[in-house]
């Protein structure tokens, strides 16, 4: 059957993920060392897993309220207050989602009318632009630059705002660059955001993984809480990717609108994961700190490793990726990655999978043991000796 003619035009218009393409290539290779993964190598802390098991044991197998378990929303409110000095009412301003991914989709669907423009700084996570398109909005890329440490500068932002601009996605700490935006840097864009009456969708999923100073949420700046849809979740900080649990904190009106979609499309996040996450918030602070310290060691190790081999490498301050430049090889990101995979059996992700400005870079994850990173670096060194 020719299914193609039945598929909607908007779905057809979305390009397949660059990562997906590379994934297929990698799956067919053997004995590879992968530095290509966007999730922690830690297993979820035991306390959290145990609570998941206990929840099943107690027979907690039902739906929860659409917004999520009240106890979990209280816990999230506590977490946001104690970690980022943000005050959200657990009853009205917080909702629990199926990962930050659903949250991104909900925020866009709640906000956009046909043809509304959404600013997407890039390179950034692969799903923003397609989600905007699926909502019949128009994604407008805002390129960021290594010489500005991949942050969103006021000039970059201004240059892309039109009368149709409705929202800005703020993806910091950033996947794939590892860039963060400091308080002063956020302050510089706040006036522009307010002046142009934009809503910020702030994806802060890596907020617990910053290595020089704590993360600052744009929602904590004056005048910004009301116009920020803050997205976070448990995947990265608590090593809970497979539990699929995220949340949104925002003005009551926004939450209500998003909950309207959420109740029809997904009903609620899995109850097991919700109970487990409560335990995580109250009892696993130490695990978070330990994981962060471990990532930090690897970060220094791998940045230095790439620099020694001869690659220019921006110093990432957050998440668990480095984003070295491969421009001096004369290859495209895609060529570089395919060749590295074929010749040395190391998998990294081409930078252009994260937006056009990612061309000339590669994303290398350090969610791996030092040992594994060291072995991969040896292979990359071999490779570089031949091509540099």
């Amino acid at each position: 059957m020719n299914t193609d003619k039945y598929i909607s035009n908007v779905v057809k218009s979305i390009p397949p993920s660059g990562i997906r393409k590379f994934f297929d290539l990698v799956t067919n290779s053997k004995d590879i060392i992968s530095l290509g993964v966007g999730e922690p190598d830690f297993v979820t802390p035991w306390e959290i897993r145990k609570e998941g098991i206990d929840a099943l044991d107690r027979g907690s197998t039902t739906y929860t309220s659409n917004l999520g378990l009240p106890e979990l929303r209280i816990a999230i409110s506590y977490f946001l207050k104690t970690h980022y000095n943000l005050a959200y009412d657990p009853e009205k301003e917080i909702m629990v989602t199926i990962g930050a991914s659903e949250a991104i989709d909900l925020a866009l669907r709640a906000l956009l009318n046909d043809g509304d423009e959404v600013l997407v700084p890039e390179p950034s996570y692969v799903s923003y632009a397609p989600c905007v398109t699926l909502t019949r909005g128009i994604p407008v890329f805002v390129p960021t630059d290594e010489k500005n440490n991949f942050i969103l500068t006021p000039d970059d932002l201004k240059s892309k705002i039109t009368s149709k601009t409705k929202a800005l996605i703020l993806p910091y700490p950033n996947n794939p660059t590892g860039a963060i935006m400091k308080k002063e840097e956020l302050e510089e864009i706040v006036n522009i955001i307010i002046e142009h009456d934009l809503i910020v969708i702030s994806d802060e999923i890596y907020s617990e993984l910053t290595y020089e100073g704590r993360h600052v949420s744009i929602a904590s700046l004056p005048g910004m809480k009301e116009r920020t849809i803050l997205i976070n979740g448990f995947s990265k900080a608590f090593a809970m990717t497979g539990w699929r649990l995220g949340y949104i904190a925002a003005e009551h009106g926004f939450i209500e609108a998003m909950n309207k979609i959420h109740q029809y499309t997904t009903i609620c996040a899995p109850i097991t994961a919700q109970y487990a996450a409560i335990k995580g918030i109250y009892q696993c602070e130490e695990d978070i700190v330990k994981m962060r310290e471990t990532y930090d060691k690897r970060r220094k190790f791998i940045v230095n490793g790439f620099r020694e081999i001869g690659f220019d490498c921006f110093e990432p301050k957050g998440a668990f990726y480095i984003f070295p430049s491969i421009k001096k090889t004369g290859m495209t990101s895609q060529e570089f990655c395919e060749k590295l995979l074929k010749e040395e059996k190391v998998a990294v992700v081409p930078g252009d999978a994260f937006g056009p400005s990612g061309e000339g870079f590669i994303r290398v994850s350090y969610a791996y043991s030092i040992d594994k990173i060291a072995r991969a670096l040896e292979r990359i060194k071999h490779f570089a000796e031949r091509i540099l």
């Binding site: 993920s17 990562i19 590379f22 994934f23 990698v26 799956t27 590879i32 992968s34 290509g36 993964v37 966007g38 999730e39 190598d41 996570y125 692969v126 799903s127 996947n175 060691k297 690897r298 220094k300 190790f301 230095n304 490793g305 998998a347 992700v349 043991s369 030092i370 040992d371 060291a374």
Partner: protein
């Protein structure tokens, strides 16, 4: 964290890390790392750099047994004299004083079960002060020094994810 502890932790994880690599991770100079390690070695804090081998995957037969030993404590020496005596044998990999029903836990390595059984019968049991021995052969290792032996514990993540 105390920098020497940080170095110890890193070496426990991977004793083949170079001074340079350790310097990068800890933010110390290579010279400082070198001196710290030297001083830890001199003070006998760092005793040896070892390797964890899955012997099952080699051609060599290596059988391990854990032996519980009951000892009659001696006046003025407690368990030390017998423990030191047991330490002398090359087959003995580790000797520890333990609490509970038994006094010493002795780890012995050999090529065959028989070899170990004979070692216990002929060398260990006859030592003066040894009251009894109970030999437990290790049949299968699941985890040692924090490392899982089974393949199932390997990285279960997809190779490339967003």
């Amino acid at each position: 964290m105390d920098k020497s502890m940080e170095i110890i932790d890193l070496l426990c994880e991977n004793s083949r890390l170079t001074e340079k690599q350790i310097a990068t991770i800890t933010g110390l100079s290579e010279e400082e790392v070198k001196n710290t390690i030297k001083s830890l070695e001199d003070k006998k804090v760092l005793l040896k750099y070892t390797t964890l081998v899955d012997w099952e995957k080699t051609d060599r037969e290596v059988i391990t047994a854990l032996i519980d030993v009951r000892v009659a404590p001696q006046q003025g020496h407690g368990f030390n004299r017998v423990a030191h005596r047991i330490c002398q044998y090359e087959e003995v990999k580790s000797v520890s004083l333990i609490s509970g029903t038994y006094d010493l836990s002795v780890e012995v390595e050999g090529k065959t079960m028989k070899e170990i059984a004979l070692f216990v019968a002929e060398r260990l049991a006859p030592i003066e002060g040894v009251l009894s021995t109970t030999t437990h052969f290790v049949l299968k290792r699941y985890k040692k020094d924090g490392v899982f032996y089974e393949e199932g514990q390997n990285d279960k993540r997809l190779v490339v994810t967003p």
